[in-house]
Amino acid sequence: MAETNTTAPPKQPTSGDIATLGFALGLERSMTDLYALATPKAGKDNEAVFAAFGEHHKAYSQALAGLLGRNAPTSRNEAFYDAFAGAARSGSAAEIAATFQALENGFVATHLSVLGSLKGTNGAELIASIIAIEARHATVLGALAGKKGLDDLLTNSAEALSPETYPA
């Protein structure tokens, strides 16, 4: 643990950062497509919220691709998409909201894990600004799912997604 700042950290992603950010990018692309599946099924009241959240994830994937440049993966994470495509478009509006609350909580946990390994500050700043909003997504989706308890909205017990479980 650094006690004094003697050397400024790098700004650009390091070679290690590139693989980690590439995994995050594949997940964001999958989430964009999952929201596209869910939006028509999310219920009339919630449709605009789902559409906006899907656009946010699209913006994240574009920003990550911009940061990675030619090192950016060009496709979504198929394993992750396949695992949740069924749940994203089935069930009541409240059930779909609960599914996406869990997914957003998983993304918060994943990005926190990503943040803890990044050396470059440009990637760290971007991931931090994404975490800030994905946590808000999760809270809103919990409320749309009909959850009233503060623990249900505030506590994130999700595990970080790993490349071993969802290989790119």
Binding site: A2, E3, T4, D45, L118, E125, A128, L153, L154
Partner: protein, 280 residues
Amino acid sequence: MTSLNGSDAFSRRKFLQTGGLALASAAVLAACGKDGAAGGESGIPRLGVAPTTTGLPDAPVTDLVLLRTAQSVEHNAIDAYAAALGLGLFTGDAAALGNVVKRFQADHRAHSDALGGLIKEAKGEAYDCANPQINKLYITPAIDLIVGNKDAGIEPSDTPLDDLLVLAHGLESLAAATYQYYVSLLTDPALRAAAMSIGEQEGRHATILAQAINPGVAGVLPSIDPDTGRENVAAVPGAYGSLKTINVAVGKPSESGSKPSLNMETPSLNSMIYDYMSCS
């Protein structure tokens, strides 16, 4: 029309006269200095004698300073919620909101404890009290606007409970933004993740408070109040966490109908808790 080339103001004679005056002035100023023409030890001519000043201690912005500052912000929130609960407004229909406030206050205590652990691990000294600058600039003035301050001629708000929610939302947003901003300053990646694991919790607090102020699906995404033309509070105000100034409008409205407002900013160089500072 006078041509520039033909103007007296730019004639060679005027230029020489002005230049001569400047040289003469410099000579007089140099003669007035303590050591005459030499201009003192620095060699710079000066007028009169400047008092000696004491500089601030050398205080680099280290990871420890950032953690201590974040901890101080947690105490700002703890104290602000204590003050809010002490007003006795969370009764009747508002009792449920009082429980939310108590929960958030407990969360901030837990955050402070977590930060204290990180600080001790890094051989630093925990800062278990509120950030004085944030108290001075934002919280004390906001509370005065809400409950009134006779000495300062401030009348109390007509809607104190609503204003407390607005203030709480502002403080939670400030805390969330502080952690996000500090990610760019912290050098240790593990500390960045630890900071954001708290910051995302502050964002969730802010989301719940935003829904209390502007409830339902209509309050989730950004919108504009058609009557005032101002932005409504939104649970999810944008695609990315914002670091912009946080506007908090509380207190008795003016004749024009607008409430006094404070602009909150994340703690920067003039409000950080440096190593030489301690709670007292």
